[in-house]
């Protein structure tokens, strides 16, 4: 969920331009400046990939580009870190794709 409230610690922000991205075949609204991880999280998607060996669900862990747990497929490119990638209009994001590096 996006934060729409305003408080002293988190004053209200206006987001960037609204864009459309496709997540697992579904069109969702996103805002310029958001990361793929934020858009997935805002839409209630917490499993970003399945592990190679045991197919266990994984999601956002370090959130700052270190752990490589949040890998998704973006515009056909595998193993993209959702937490370090900004959305763009028309972007196609796929979760839970085989990850082989």
């Amino acid at each position: 969920m996006r934060i729409e409230t305003s408080s002293h610690l988190l004053p209200k922000v206006t987001r960037g331009k609204q864009v459309q991205v496709t997540v697992d075949g579904k069109t969702v609204a996103a805002y310029e400046g958001e990361t793929v991880a934020a858009v997935l999280t805002a839409n209630g998607i917490h499993t970003f990939r399945l592990t190679r060996e045991h197919k266990h669900p994984r999601g956002l862990y370090c959130g700052m580009g270190v752990c490589y747990e949040c890998l998704v497929r973006v515009d056909g490119v595998d193993n993209v870190r959702a937490c370090m990638t900004a959305v763009a209009d028309g972007m196609v994001v796929e979760t839970c794709k085989e990850v082989e590096l």
Binding site: G16, G33, H54, L60, Y61, C62, N79
Partner: protein, 471 residues
């Protein structure tokens, strides 16, 4: 040898920004590389450029001020760019980067490494479930992206950051069941510690965090920690326990809480990949976050011309990082002949008091909040320690039983640390497992060594590596 730049600063957090500024202000041709879209690091991270905020905090203003100073200098700034390798090149270094424009490399005479730190990973049953995230990650999601990671959370960790994260999550409308501080501190000690923390000169903000907790009815529990997370597709509940001596959970004290989000923040680990890659000499200092590069008083490492500043050289916080960054930038200006040694001496002198007090506070925080061995014994044989290669603690223990005595040997036998994160997530827990298993042999962290770091430091498209190999 001609250099593309005299100095490369790696990392544009508090330390890196100050280093680049100090060097450039004295005429050193400087390049700065950072993996985020804007300078600032974790501490001075600005909102996305397309976002607008009604009112700015003092941290926002400080960050903006540093960024504006940098933009006024002829510093070449690479953003959204990874440094995947640094290689000896004559008397200097070749820095290999990969960014939006593809792969690039440049030669420099001097290096200031300021790669910061990341949340210390602590394995426990269920820690790989979606919904379990680090304090740093949660902070970015809430403060920077303005998205809540869930509805109901537990925050467990140690040190001041967990209070900030919890207060932000509450302000964002989340329910925080409790904030659990693992250290067994008396409230009074904690009060003194926070009051004395020079870096937290924004004491008012600290009070606001606590007030936010109290208003929301969120208890701040000292000497408690999460010990297990459970769920199928996502965290559904967590088990917490009271901490005994040396951070060992007390049997019988367990309680279960229903949450959909678990935020973990047991302090930070210096991000030493680059200094280890080029083989600066390192030492083990538990209270400063583990393995750290050794430095002289100008922050030069064992390699002449290579300096390390900020949290990467031992956890000290943003204020210390800024001072160290400035110091290292000045040191490069002197070494490169752009600044008189005498003038620099005066500037160093002015910084000594600040450095000394910041280091004293950092030492105090390290002493109070560094987790003990017990916290790294929450995992059982079925718990993954290496998230990338899916290696369990049991497999690590088997490797030790089979004769492994160093981290490198465990890595060779089990493949821990060979995945995408290059061992950043598992090095410390495997080290604790080794030391634990070899307690009878009195093996220590220095004795078991660390993982060897090799390029590429980050996974790269094969085409990039192929191109680099041709050069």
């Amino acid at each position: 040898m001609s250099w593309d730049y005299e100095l490369a600063v790696i990392g544009a957090g508090p330390a890196g920004m100050e280093a680049a500024l100090a060097a450039s202000e004295h005429g050193v041709p400087t390049v700065m590389v950072d993996n985020r879209p804007a300078s600032g690091g974790q501490f001075y991270m600005p909102l996305p450029a397309t976002f607008n905020k009604a009112s700015k905090s003092s941290v926002d203003k400080d960050g903006n001020f540093l960024r504006s100073l940098l933009d006024g200098q002829p510093v070449k700034q690479y953003k959204d760019t990874l440094v995947w390798g640094i290689f000896p090149e004559g008397e200097g270094w070749k820095v290999a980067v990969y960014g939006p424009a593809g792969p690039e490399a440049f030669n420099v005479r001097y290096l200031v490494l300021a790669a910061g730190a990341y949340d210390t990973p602590v394995p426990f049953p269920g820690w790989t479930l979606p919904g379990v995230m680090t304090a740093g990650g949660a902070q970015i999601m809430v403060k920077n992206q303005r998205v809540v990671p869930g509805k109901k959370a537990l925050v467990s960790g140690s040190g001041p950051l967990i209070l900030a994260v919890a207060a932000n999550m509450i302000s964002a409308g989340m329910r925080v069941e409790a904030v659990m501080e693992g250290a067994r501190l008396f409230p009074r000690v904690l009060g003194h510690a926070y009051a004395a923390w020079g870096q937290w000169h924004r004491m008012a903000e600290g009070v606001e965090y606590l007030t936010t907790l109290v208003k929301a009815g969120t208890p701040y529990k000292l000497g408690w920690s999460v010990i297990e997370a459970r769920g199928e597709e996502r965290v559904e509940e967590v088990v917490v326990a009271r901490m005994g001596a040396n951070w060992k959970p007390l049997p019988g004290s367990e309680k279960t809480l229903a949450v959909d989000t678990l935020v973990i923040g047991y302090g930070m680990t210096p991000n030493t990949g680059l200094s280890r890659l080029i083989e600066c000499r390192h030492e083990y200092d538990r209270r400063r976050g583990g393995w750290v590069p050794m430095r002289d008083e100008t922050l030069q490492t064992s390699l002449p011309g290579v300096y390390v500043a900020g949290d990467m050289a031992g956890i000290g916080g943003a204020e210390l990082a800024r001072l160290e960054g400035r110091l290292s930038g000045l040191a490069v200006a002197v070494a490169s002949g752009h600044l008189e040694r005498g003038t620099a001496g005066e500037l160093y002198g002015q910084m000594q008091r600040g450095l000394k007090s910041q280091r004293r506070f950092a030492g105090m925080l390290g002493a109070l909040f560094t987790p003990g061995q017990g916290l790294f014994s929450l995992a059982n044989d079925d718990t993954l320690v290496c998230r990338c290669e899916e290696i369990t603690l049991g497999e690590v223990r088997e490797a030790v039983a089979a004769g492994a005595r160093t981290l490198t040997e465990v890595k060779m036998i089990t493949r821990t640390g060979m995945g995408n994160c290059q061992g950043r997530m598992c090095e410390r827990s495997v080290a604790h497992a080794l030391v634990d298993a070899l307690a009878a042999e009195q093996v220590d962290f220095e004795g078991i060594g660390n993982y060897k770091v090799r390029p590429p430091l980050h996974p790269l498209p094969v085409s990039v590596l192929a191109e680099a190999a041709e050069d």
